[in-house]
């Protein structure tokens, strides 16, 4: 029973073609709770609510078994790049 991290990754990869994807199983083994970070071109021009809807519908089948899905990040590649650069430690002067 439950859904595996690999299943979630496979569905998201095939449907949203993400340039970055991180799926963490936070269920403690039962496969019912996941945290997701995803970067996809398909989020371009969509506000956060719509982006979450895109992810939810990509996981429509899995959602029947998943009880808690936390989408920590749903970014466009551009936003992701900016965030990465902002987080990069500045080279020592």
């Amino acid at each position: 029973m439950g859904v595996t991290k690999e299943q979630v990754e496979a569905s998201l990869t095939s449907k949203l073609n993400p340039s970055h994807l991180e799926v963490v199983d936070t269920s403690g083994g039962c496969g019912a709770s996941f945290v997701i970070e995803i970067v996809s071109q398909q989020f371009e021009g969509k506000r956060l609510l719509e982006r979450h809807r895109v992810v939810n519908s990509a996981l429509e089948e899995e959602m029947k078994e998943i009880h808690a899905l936390s989408i920590k990040k749903a970014l466009t590649p551009e936003q992701w790049k900016k965030q990465q650069e902002a987080e990069k430690p500045k080279p020592a002067a």
């Binding site: 709770s33 809807r53 959602m63 936390s70 989408i71």
Partner: protein, 174 residues
């Protein structure tokens, strides 16, 4: 089940929006209380279906995609617009039964806005119907001025960015 406390400890607080549910009509002939056999029915929101015969067919696909009847949709239209801020959650304002629901309650409390909560654990029919109504698979679900705002992640995000405060302020002023 996940993040659900003992069902027997749930108390139903009568509220204007719950009265809306109760006001829809008589107790349905079908058994809505199947999922909670140990709990009394009288305090639960009830729904009437125009044609009880068709319900038995519907009940078969209960878990699939026929939870949102036109009657339920009408009722929900009224509920989400009955207050400026409505939160469909697991548990109650004073006794949230899920960490995500609790988070949204605490955010709304900290912003000092009046809000109404509806405990979806009280009614499996409502719970399934709402998923379709909002096109959103999980709870909590936050509505502001009759519009779906988001689940927990989105609310937290909007709170951090200040967008939630803006939206709520606008709603309170209108």
């Amino acid at each position: 089940m996940w993040c659900v406390g003992p069902l027997d400890s749930i108390t139903v607080t009568p509220s204007p929006s719950l009265a809306l549910f109760g006001g829809v009509g008589k107790t349905p002939t079908c058994s809505l209380h199947l999922h909670y056999p140990s709990r009394p029915l009288q305090a639960l929101p009830t729904f009437t279906l125009a044609n009880p015969k068709s319900y038995s067919k519907r009940a078969l696909s209960f878990r699939c995609s026929a939870a949102l009847t036109p009657e339920l949709k009408n009722t929900l239209d009224k509920v989400v617009t009955s207050h400026k801020v409505v939160l469909f959650m697991k548990g109650t304002k004073d006794f949230p039964q899920c960490g995500f629901s609790n988070t949204v309650v605490q955010i709304l409390r900290s912003l000092n806005v009046p809000f109404e909560t509806i405990n979806i654990l009280e009614n499996e029919f409502l719970r399934q119907g709402l998923k379709e109504y909002s096109s959103w698979p999980t709870f909590p679900q936050l509505y502001v001025e009759g519009e779906f705002f988001g689940g927990c992640d989105i609310t937290v995000d909007a709170y951090k960015s200040g967008e939630l405060q803006e939206v709520l302020e606008k709603a309170m002023c209108s």
